[in-house]
Amino acid sequence: MIRVKNLNKSFTNQNVLNNISVTFEPGKTNLIIGRSGSGKTVLLKSIVGLHDIDSGEIWYENVLFNKLDFTGKKEIRKEMGMLFQGSALFDSLTVEQNVRFPLDMFTDKTTEEKNERVNFCLKRVDIINANKLSPAELSGGMKKRVAIARAISLNPKYLFCDEPNSGLDPITAILIDELIKEITEEYSMTTIVNTHDMNSVMKIGEKIVFISDGIKCWEGSKDEILRSDCDTLNDFVFANALAKQLRSSLR
């Protein structure tokens, strides 16, 4: 479980996150949604410690993460996996080397054991016969899947995904969403996904947090989101013509 309490973050006197408090539950796909520039990525990066926060608390189980030193954070980070918006695969390494990287860095497994784990992770994300390819030779969807394979190679307790569907076609986007949900349930991970894609929200959103202008405006489930009385959320959820029609039919 990850708990965020009264989190504030600003950049050069501009408040980006204001007093955010939220709990992300284990074994569930937790979504942070909101418009571009609403502070979703800053919140996610603050939770994982890539941004230092101004005030507030970030708890991983019973550990106050934001007060830990580099070594302390390092121990928690070994239990994290993250899927970045642009995949962030290491250009100089092949697909298999990318997935093996965390194993090389933090385990004492033999080469055979590492190869076995790499092949298992790649198979889990449906990447076959691409071990020796470089990231530049992969499509956007394949890059995301390899990034997921890398993120789960150490069996993390926490999985973070920053806009996993950005730049993908709708079918591939659904596949990535399903993969994230399956992996979350399979390994009982605490997964946090940043997205502004309503398809993802309706497909995998078990717990949803809506952020607008750095303020948490709403939280609930995908079943509750369509019946919310939060105007800002409704403007976001029913932004396109099809959704507007759906809303009028609901009413």
């Binding site: 890539l50 642009g86 250009d91 090389d104 933090f106």
Partner: protein, 247 residues
């Protein structure tokens, strides 16, 4: 002034991170080996070509500027040798490497920053500064002295060929000249300078790349800054080290 101090402070903090204990020695060793090839071995070609022509030009210029019966012709060989050892193979080669290696380091690390690859390392719990920069520093500290030695040898060969083929000096005089009043300490001096310059090129360029904020335009700017700052620091340290080591 405040900006300079803040940047210098950031540079010192980065170095502190770089020289902290590596997570896994074997991974760092492998990384250092690949950097030795990428930053060191791949620079042999350009250093060889430049040193050859540098030696040739020094010999010809020395010859044309000492066309006086008072000066024995072997002084051309001596001048060529000392110019190459004392200045050209260490300082000029370092300036060239600042352009080639420095810009490559800054753009590589800068691109990793803007494409979130450095964030990915941090998330995994890897000390990204140490993992990315330490192997580069170690590799250049190991390999650049060899580049300097190669440059000295090739430069003198270039000078000898240019001198003898153009007829400004005989082979015997040139060889006598390069052996005449030889001070072995000059080689040590040159190698010490090379070590300082190697550290400057790698650390300053890595610093520029590591703190890139923005996109491809900023990566390009960081790459240019890396070359400019490294070059200026090389010239500054050249003066300081010369005063300290030769006075």
């Amino acid at each position: 002034m405040f900006r300079f101090l803040s940047q210098f402070g950031l540079y010192v903090l980065l170095l502190k991170k770089v020289f902290s204990r590596p997570e896994k020695s074997v991974v760092y060793y492998r990384q250092t080996m690949s950097e030795l090839v990428y930053l060191g071995l791949n620079s042999v070609g350009i250093i060889t070509i430049i040193s050859f022509f540098m030696g040739a030009v020094i010999t010809l210029q020395t010859a044309y500027n000492t066309e006086n019966p008072i000066y024995p012709t072997y002084l051309i060989g001596l001048g060529c040798r000392d110019s190459i050892i004392l200045e050209f193979s260490s300082t000029v080669a370092a300036l060239i490497l600042a352009g080639k290696v420095g810009s490559s380091i800054a753009s590589e690390i800068g691109t990793m920053r803007v494409t979130e690859q450095i964030d990915a390392l941090e998330i995994m719990g890897v000390n990204s500064a140490s993992y990315l920069i330490l192997p580069k520093i170690v590799a250049t500290l190991i390999f650049n002295p060899f580049l300097t030695l190669i440059s000295i040898i090739v430069g003198i060969i270039g000078g000898w060929l240019a001198g003898t083929l153009s007829g400004v000096i005989t082979s015997e005089d040139f060889i006598y000249g390069i052996q005449y009043a030889f001070i072995p300490y000059y080689i040590t001096y040159s190698l010490i300078k090379t070590l300082f310059f190697a550290f400057i090129i790698t650390s300053v360029s890595a610093f520029q790349g590591y703190y890139v904020d923005g996109g491809s335009l900023e990566v390009g700017r960081a790459s240019t800054k890396a070359v400019v700052f490294s070059s200026v620091l090389i010239l500054l340290f050249n003066v300081i080290l010369t005063q300290l080591l030769l006075s």
